[in-house]
């Protein structure tokens, strides 16, 4: 079908407006993070300015004190939160994927009555309202004295990562023809050997995509960490909200911290963009 030139131009104009709206906050955040204190909160805003890394140094370098920042928190306090986020997210995701891949494979290959019911029960846990998990986890963690610990956060993130991992990987296993492991098993492999030696290497890209999608969810999670972590295990997403103080907002360091949180996620998300939609719809849309 031919599309007139006018319609093409209109389409482009509309799309460019939409893209500008979606990308503007990203640009604004990045430019704010590169401004020094005098350039940040001005009206009219400074579109052209001399970029500085002072905000990044402020949030990353321990003990950094800048003469340019009047209202500074102690330097480098985000490093600890970064460590917490990395430990909690990676532990939970690796745990979820390494347990979940067996279940996913099983669900892809087995047939038994009520199999779909079991699968639905698994994904319904992912759908659980965070607040309905937060309250009992909070009370139980106080009782068991594990409040504000890595263990607690790894467990609660696994509640949400494991169902997700099972559902995404089930689709990847279903994509592989049954004949492949059958021939391996005719050649004398056991089911477990066939799984590790033949099937797993074939789904490796899917496995990596699953890890990354679970990482994105955990890294970005705020509400549960906000309530269930304290001084000891506070994650990055909670720490960044502390830049809003009763005395005002530290725009520059806040913007720098924002950029540091989103940059790695944007990069890995673009790297697996082929699988992203599939992951975010729990494998429903390929």
């Amino acid at each position: 079908m031919k599309i007139s030139r006018g319609k093409k131009v209109l389409t482009w104009v509309f799309l460019i407006i939409v893209i500008v709206i979606f990308l503007f906050p990203l640009y604004y955040n990045l430019s704010t993070s590169l401004k020094n204190e005098q350039d940040v909160a001005t009206s009219p805003p400074k579109w052209i300015f001399k970029p500085t890394l002072v905000n990044y140094k402020q949030v990353l370098i321990p003990g950094f004190v800048s003469k340019k920042l009047t209202m500074a928190l102690s330097g480098g306090h985000l490093l600890n939160n970064l460590k917490n986020s990395l430990i909690i997210c990676f532990s939970s995701v690796l745990l979820s994927v390494s347990i979940g891949m067996f279940a996913a494979y099983s669900l892809a290959r087995l047939s038994f009555s009520h199999k779909e019911d079991l699968a639905f029960w698994i994904i319904s846990i992912k759908m659980m309202p965070p607040i309905a998990a937060i309250i009992p986890f909070f009370l139980l963690s106080k009782y068991l004295r594990v409040y504000d610990s890595y263990r607690l956060m790894i467990i609660i993130y696994t509640t949400f990562n494991l169902p997700l991992a099972v559902w995404i990987m089930r689709g990847f296993f279903e994509d592989i023809p049954v004949a492949i492991e059958e021939s391996a098993m005719v050649d004398g492999c056991s089911r477990t050997q066939a799984f590790f030696r033949v099937i797993l290497p074939l789904v490796a890209p899917g496995l990596v995509a699953t890890v990354i999608i679970c990482l994105i969810f955990s890294w970005n999670e705020f509400f549960m960490a906000f309530i269930l972590t304290g001084r000891h295990s506070q994650t990055l997403s909670v720490a960044v909200s502390a830049f809003i103080t009763p005395w005002g907002i530290q725009w520059g360091p806040l913007a720098a911290a924002n950029s540091l949180i989103i940059a790695p996620i944007i990069i890995i998300a673009i790297a697996i963009q082929k699988y992203l939609v599939r992951g975010l719809t729990f494998g429903a849309i390929k």
Binding site: E116, S124, M127, I135, L162, R191, F222, V240, S241, I265
Partner: protein, 288 residues
Amino acid sequence: MKDKPVLIGFLLPTVAVLAAISIYPTVYLICTSLTSRSMASATALAEFIGGHHYLDLLTDPYTFNALKVSGVFTLLTVGISFAIGMGVAYLLSQDFMQRYRFIRIFFIVPMVMAPVVIGLTWRIMLWPDFGIINYLLGIVGLPQKGWLAEANTALYTVIFIDIWEWTPFVILVLLAGFQSLPKDPIEAAYVDGATSWQVFRHVSLPLLKPIILVVLLLRLIQAFQWADTIVVMTNGGPGILTQTVSFYTYQLAFVSFDVGRASAMAVIILIVTILLSTALVRSLRRKE
């Protein structure tokens, strides 16, 4: 299959872990909702009071406020993000756009940004005095306001930000849907002289129905449970005008320390979610 036991064994760790970390806390939540438990008393000793909290919540104006806020929020953000998402996905799915596939990378960015970062960034941009939004609105002669702080704009502002956050998700999923459509019926319709609107309405849309259902249900569940960015944007205010059900529950438990009542509210949210997600999981695995 003679090695069925092995495969059943593969399922066990997942089932055991999920049962341990989901069933017990849920039962615990329901039990707590039937007691007068308060955060102020350190021990779990609390009186059993049956359905008292549930009856109380039914007559509580704050509950109705929270339900109303969540209702308006959910309907508007899901409806509008779906409409915009459908439009953009349709445009991106057209043949002459296929050379510009890189465009979809731009939509990945808001979709994977941490919600708390989105909330904080918009809060800076919407800052009443030096915020960029008021500056830009001033240039084109529109009113400048404390968008997140004023009673008549706060809720619509957080809805706008949620639409901004979630429309890219709708776009990318529907675009994947458009691209999975079979070419033949669409071409046949054009050959028969249908207009592009007729093709969209009577051929593409019915074929897309399962995917549309998945998108809408995922968004409904997420929007109804929404609470996280409210913490950094308005904290439920001004007053209680942006207090969603989840945020109200959070306040009951961790600000008023009324854990029993908060648990009852959480159970109500859980029930609504179960109804919505039962519909969702059915549509997730439907074979087209």
